[in-house]
Amino acid sequence: MEELIAVSLGLFAGTVTGIVPGAGVTVAMVIATPMLMGFDVTQLLLFYMALASMVQFTGTIPAVFLGVPGETNSLPAVIEGTKFNRRMMSQLAVGVSAVGSVLGSVIAVALTFLLLSFLIGHVSVFFSNNTKFYLYIFVIVFCVLVYNRGNVLINITLCLTGYALSLPGESDISSNIRYTLNIDDLEFGVPLMPVLIGFLIVPTLYKIYNDHQRVKQFKGNDVAFKKVLVYFMRCLPSSIRGSVIGYLCGFMPGVNTILATNTSYSVEKRLNRNSPGRQLVASETANNSGQFASMLPLLLIGIPITGSEVILYSLLVDAGWSPFQFDNVANNADMIFREIVPWFVLANLVGLLVAWPFAKQILRMFTASKKYVIISLAIFMIVLNTYLGIQDYRTVLYTICLIVFGCVGLLIRKHEPVPLIFMFILGNDIEAVFLRQMLI
């Protein structure tokens, strides 16, 4: 029953998150944090899995109907979906995307099942500081080269800012308190929530508000289920190709689903230049396949590779999860197939239902009350920050940080803040790993 509640809440959060343009899994995780604090490890994993899967389904809806990306990886859906929309066939586009997404998820599960023994057999590779060292170098290089359209200077500045924010308080390698600027409350470090709200949610809400001015109408005719299936069967090879490409790209830290979608889209564009349907299906299939793969490093060995997973990771540790899972890989693998996969399949079926037959109804509901959604979210964020500040006995610091980071977040709203957040959350661990690498 508790599992069902967690999955249902995740599905609901995923539906809303996918439909709200610009909002992503990370934002949803932040918003849901107070509720998630009461969850146990399994519930947290199920909530996240349902949320992340659902977003891949519903993110397609505003992309196709409105031309607004629901998720950062919905760009191919925007480009190709618009072509369907012009021909009043947006319902078909959403339908084949949803069916493709389910297939992508199934293929991802099958690939995991096939590769699992290989992963478990070679798990000692992941035990060492050495592995983490090179993984972190890889993540940092990706942060510097990929985000903000590859603007290295901006990305380095964001990385350094994030790292600087991670410095105050106690480090992972020494019990000495540092860089507190004589502020007692900084002994426990810069609080996470104001950083997330300030740099991530404030700019997101601003963008959603501005998008609100543009969103006026959407169009499309109802399409029969059979027609969708027939159309999808024509795109089946593209869908399978997209699943495999998406799965492999899903392991890439920091960029998994974005890389999965865009790589698959690029490949399909090369192979089937004049088929928007195949390009759309391939990219949307890759999306879901990549999403499942991206969860595996965290589920198997405890290494988060996306911003939202980092938030999940800290919640998991608070709920009693061992920060490293290297010695527990066989059990974790068993847990994935026994406890996660069945719910993952269910989440995909619900995703199919929501993203396809109910797409128009859901979108209509949201566009009618979008203004209130934005206002409610803004108020909720302020209340959440204050509540967590009180819980942490640092209300003043939380408030000041929220104001400062919110203002800076607005100023840099045109830039993706992921490098900053990644370095802020993992800065201490990266520092420790690098130091140990020099010592060993």
């Binding site: 035990f127 106690e170 992972d172 426990f188 920060p323 490293f324 010695d327 006995y393 060993i440």
Partner: protein, 252 residues
């Protein structure tokens, strides 16, 4: 009918009177879920509730912040604690705050089978709060000390082949021995960790009796037995003397 009403009223009055006499106590949770501080706090909370206390549970989750609250509070408050924290947190065991010594365990020195033939340049994993001078004194000057965040991270480090040796607590050392990749020995030269319960704004002796009874209950006995924790039960005076002596070992 009259009799029934009188009986019901009597029951109600007795309940109210009983509720009014319930003693209030705050218990601060200073550890994260999954850790020993957290587990022990939960058991004490449940025990206090079962003993008829009205428990106010402060879920702080960080030892340094918990100590700050413990020092500033004017309410009857208890908290689990250990002697390895006293210098770092600047909160020592005294006659005013010491309630009970719950268990003690030595630190272990573990070494991988592969490194047994190595004579110099051994890499040694240690917790970030450990006294590095003492480690050099015990293990020699030609070792390379490698700091880790906590005991769990150290275990992964040695399992992953990062280091040749580790200085770790009893639980993680026993786990390492189970892997059969190396051996561990308890050290007489390194400090002994003692887990305690401390309190403020309360009658220490009276609370000791309650706390002692809670630790004699099944959950605590199972907790101690499963982790092979040694419980040196004694008088309050003797326990305090022992704790005060042992905590000096943790001075860096």
């Amino acid at each position: 009918m009259k009799k029934t009403i009188i009986m019901l009223l009597s029951v109600l009055l007795v309940s109210i009177a009983k509720a009014e006499t319930k003693q209030q106590i705050t218990i601060i949770n200073n550890g994260k879920a999954g850790g020993s501080y957290h587990a022990r706090t939960q058991m004490y909370r449940d025990g206090l509730v079962a003993a008829g206390y009205e428990v106010d549970y402060e879920d702080v989750g960080k030892i340094s912040q918990a100590v700050k609250i413990f020092k500033e509070t004017d309410k009857p408050t208890i908290m689990v604690y250990s002697n390895n924290q006293v210098y770092k947190q600047d909160l020592f065991h005294t006659a005013e705050n010491f309630i009970m010594l719950e268990y003690q365990q030595p630190l272990y020195v573990c070494q991988t089978n592969e490194s047994k033939s190595k004579t110099s340049g051994l890499t040694v994993a240690h917790g970030k709060g450990y006294d590095t001078k003492l480690l050099n004194k015990v293990l020699g000057d030609d070792i390379i000390l490698v700091p880790y965040k906590n005991s769990s991270a150290m275990l992964k480090g040695i399992l992953g082949g990062d280091v040749d040796m580790m200085v770790n607590n009893q639980g993680m050392s026993l786990k390492y021995m189970e892997s059969e990749l190396g051996t561990c020995e308890p050290s007489n030269l390194l400090p002994t960790m003692q887990a305690t319960v401390i309190g403020t704004n309360i009658d220490i002796k009276q609370m000791r009796e309650v706390i002692f009874e809670i630790t004699m209950d099944i959950p605590f006995l199972e907790y101690h037995n499963s982790r092979q924790l040694n419980r040196p039960s004694n008088t309050w005076e003797n326990e305090l003397t022992t704790v005060k002596n042992y905590e000096k070992q943790w001075q860096n």
